[in-house]
């Protein structure tokens, strides 16, 4: 099956007072129909910028896609005019944001906020739009939709607000839904409900989902495949089983080790990754993770690692894949990572 969305070698930079920030430095990934891709990484690794680039929603004055292609059904989104892009936003690709409290307009009724997208993209009457909005609220599990449509943001709970965000995003039946940290601001039980909702919607509509998160637990529940980002680059990508059971990049291993698991030995503490990500004003010459990596080599400091294809789906960028590195850390497999 061909790819619905294909991102190739995406570069995004921002102009700030302190200089140019290279937020995304050559990211590639692909997404098939009905598939869920998780983009994982710490705050500031460029995952949100990557997602927004697909929507072409990076701040127009400061941010710029400097290189790469974003192909939606073979159409390069980077080449579209803003007006053409607006036709696609909300109808072909939708996005939901982390904090529904601030991402919804507090002074406009929920119904109006759901309906304005439908009215924008489809030639239908308000009455029909209203019927669709009600149907949508039903789909995302909000009771009494007729009454709820007239209400305002502050009259809903946190989980309900996120459901409304999802309803707004799905109302025009887009092919791709991008969810930027959709559960981060929610309680754990509500998180689980929202993740279930994503799954059931995907089953019903066959929508493709890109989920941006730092939470490996969310990834495990939802994703078919994973791209791990660090300092603006994808360091490892592959199907979820291979990422979870056969991680190759020290950073992926670190992320997994820092996640609590039911089958863990409880006597062992969780292992955070020490240090902080590098300054993207001046990215290091070599591997960006080298400074925090327990297995860093001299080469990591000076040269960028190439991509190694472990299988046709599992890729990793790390010097440890080089045959010459095998002897430096002979005990690597025995360290328990």
């Amino acid at each position: 099956m061909s790819n619905l969305l294909q991102v190739e070698n995406l570069h995004v930079t921002f102009q700030t007072h302190g200089g140019e920030v290279k937020a995304v430095r050559g990211v590639s990934f692909s997404l098939k129909k009905g598939e869920t891709l998780a983009i994982v990484g710490e705050s500031g690794c460029g995952k949100s910028v990557t997602a927004r680039s697909v929507m072409r929603l990076i701040p127009e004055h400061t941010g710029k896609i400097t290189d790469g292609r974003i192909l939606l059904d073979g159409l390069d989104l980077c080449k579209l005019t803003e007006r053409e892009m607006r036709e696609l936003r909300g109808s072909k690709i939708s996005m939901i944001f982390q904090d529904a409290m601030t991402s919804l307009n507090p002074t406009i009724s929920i119904g109006e906020q759901i309906m304005e997208g439908i009215i924008r993209h489809q030639k239908i009457s308000r009455r029909q739009a209203r019927a669709q909005a009600i149907e949508m609220l039903n789909l995302v599990g909000i009771a009494n939709p007729e009454r709820r449509l007239k209400q305002y943001l502050h009259e809903f709970s946190g989980g309900m607000r996120q459901r409304i965000m999802i309803a707004i995003a799905l109302v025009c039946r887009p092919a791709i839904l991008i969810a930027d940290e959709p559960t981060t601001a929610l309680d754990v039980t509500i998180q689980a409900q929202i993740l279930e909702l994503f799954k059931s919607i995907q089953k019903k509509t066959g929508i493709s989902i890109i989920i941006i998160t730092h939470d490996m637990g969310v990834v495990a529940k939802l994703a078919d495949k994973v791209s791990v980002m660090y300092a603006g680059k994808v360091v490892e990508s592959g199907p979820i089983r291979q990422i979870f059971y056969d991680p190759q990049h020290p950073y992926t291993k670190g992320l997994l080790a820092s996640m609590p698991r039911l089958d863990d030995d409880r006597s062992q503490p969780l292992r955070p990754i020490p240090g902080t990500p590098p300054d993207l004003f001046a990215p290091p010459a070599g591997c960006a993770f080298a400074a925090r990596c327990d297995y860093a080599l001299e080469v990591c400091r000076l040269h960028q690692p190439d991509v190694t294809d472990l299988t046709h789906e599992h890729h990793v960028s790390c010097w440890l894949q080089d045959p010459r590195a095998k002897n430096v850390f002979p005990l690597q497999t025995a360290t328990g990572l």
């Binding site: 300054d279 001046a282 080298a290 400074a291 860093a296 080599l297 001299e298 080469v299 990591c300 400091r301 000076l302 040269h303 010097w319 080089d322 010459r324 590195a325 430096v328 850390f329």
Partner: protein, 305 residues
């Protein structure tokens, strides 16, 4: 592959650490000063205030004329090498009077602001610190006072107390402190319930430490900004009172009095009699306002754009 085999050895992390750019840690005040220094407009305002203040002190000695000396033969002379800012209808040197007026206007502005500061900080601080019902009652009183139209009350007080330098300052600060009290009280309340103060106390921080590390940086900035804004408000109010004949009385002269005296000159063509006092009132207002804006941005980096 072009990469040398020699590089496949464990990395010496010392080098990396040495290469890392160390961003110096700035204290709150250093950070604020750094941000203020980058704001050219605010620096300009500060410079103007400084120059006006210096000239208020020494300006009158730059000319041989005194601010009271009347030379009826030299009345209404246009600005010249002799009288830099011209003379008024009584032949008094406008330059000398401007800097004398600067003293009076700045004195009124600064004194009113300082009194507002003292009353406001004590009242607001007490209300916030004591909290509960005391706070409720104190703030209800302040709310009601806040509802009273400021200038009306000032006019009323001036009518009753009679015009004069001291009465102006009293009248202006009689109602001017409420804004300050509200701000201080809000800050103290917010701080009392803030999690970082709770965290600091849990970690065993003593009260003086909390005051120095949390209370002062968080409230002092906002207080300084408020003071910066209340100086021009007082100067403006004084000009307004002068217009109503309730300003300082001769032989004292403030900018407000001079501007008011100069209004008829707009028709008689002696423009300098209105222009100079009006210009310096506006310039001072402007300088304090841009400085206040700059200080607010400098003290609250979160609100920066």
């Amino acid at each position: 592959m072009a990469v040398s085999n020699d590089l496949f050895v464990q990395m010496n992390k010392e080098i990396l650490h040495a290469e890392a750019i160390v961003r110096p840690k700035l204290s709150f005040w250093q950070g604020a000063w750094l941000r203020l220094r980058q704001n050219k407009l605010a620096l300009g305002g500060m410079l103007i205030i400084l120059v006006i203040a210096i000239l208020a002190l020494i300006g009158s000695s730059l000319t041989p004329y005194s601010y009271t000396e009347q030379k009826l033969l030299d009345s209404n002379q246009a600005p010249s090498a002799e009288h830099w800012f011209g003379t008024d209808e009584l032949g008094r040197d406008v330059f000398a009077r401007i800097w004398y007026g600067a003293r009076i206007s700045l004195f009124i502005g600064v004194m009113a602001a300082l009194i507002d500061l003292c009353i406001g900080v004590i009242y607001g601080g007490l209300a916030g610190y004591l909290g509960g019902n005391t706070d409720n009652v104190m703030m209800r009183i302040a709310d009601i006072l806040y509802g009273i139209p400021y200038l009306l009350m000032v006019i009323l007080l001036m009518v009753v107390m009679g015009p004069g330098l001291d009465t102006i300052i009293i009248a202006l600060s009689a109602t001017g402190w409420i804004g300050m009290a509200r701000i201080v009280r809000g800050q103290v309340l917010q701080l009392k319930s803030s999690e970082y103060v709770l965290a600091a106390r849990t970690l065993g921080a003593k009260v003086p430490y909390i005051i120095r590390k949390h209370l002062l940086p968080n409230t002092l900035g906002i207080i300084i900004v408020q003071v910066t804004f209340s100086v021009p408000t007082a100067i403006f109010a004084e000009a307004f009172l002068s217009f109503l004949g309730l300003g300082v009385q001769p032989p004292l002269a403030s900018w407000g009095v001079m501007a008011n005296d100069g209004i008829p000159s707009i028709l008689s063509g002696h423009w300098w009699r209105l222009f100079f006092p009006a210009f310096f009132i506006s310039l001072t207002m402007l300088a304090f306002n841009v400085l206040g804006d700059g200080l607010r941005d400098a003290f609250d980096p979160r609100q920066r754009r």
